[in-house]
Symmetry: C2
Subunit: 77 residues, 2 copies
């Protein structure tokens, strides 16, 4: 798969809301981990953080469907 077509690099908020809910946490993990260097990374902690982050992204995206997941990341700073 092409890197740009099989990753959520340019996913819009509307696309996120419309995803199969079972992919919300993995996409959250992917997006929030970009530019991260895992150090003593622990999968359980990372995945639980993503499960917790998914509803925050949804909330942001429902308010701003024309936005992107990058806007969400920017909004956290």
């Amino acid at each position: 798969a092409d890197k740009m077509t099989s990753t959520p690099e340019n996913m819009t908020c509307k696309e996120y809301v419309d995803l199969n809910p079972k992919s919300w946490a993995p996409v959250a993990l992917w997006v929030t981990s970009q530019d991260t260097q895992f150090k003593s990374g622990d999968w359980v902690a990372l995945s639980e953080q993503s499960v917790a982050e998914a509803p925050l992204i949804l909330e942001f995206c429902k308010k701003k469907p024309e936005g992107t997941l990058k806007d969400y990341l920017a909004s956290k700073k």
Copy 2:
């Protein structure tokens, strides 16, 4: 989000094939990293591996739409 509803724990192959393609690599990462302890984990390597793995999962899943992502993992062993 509930852990079982926002993660692909029980995702079927048909669901994977039907996903928004932009979530293929993140779901691949999630599924293949279960039970992994990241050590000197490096996000670039992990994410590129997932981009490469997505078409393998798709190929498996197109042949066996009634299967699950766990079946894919089992098939690799």
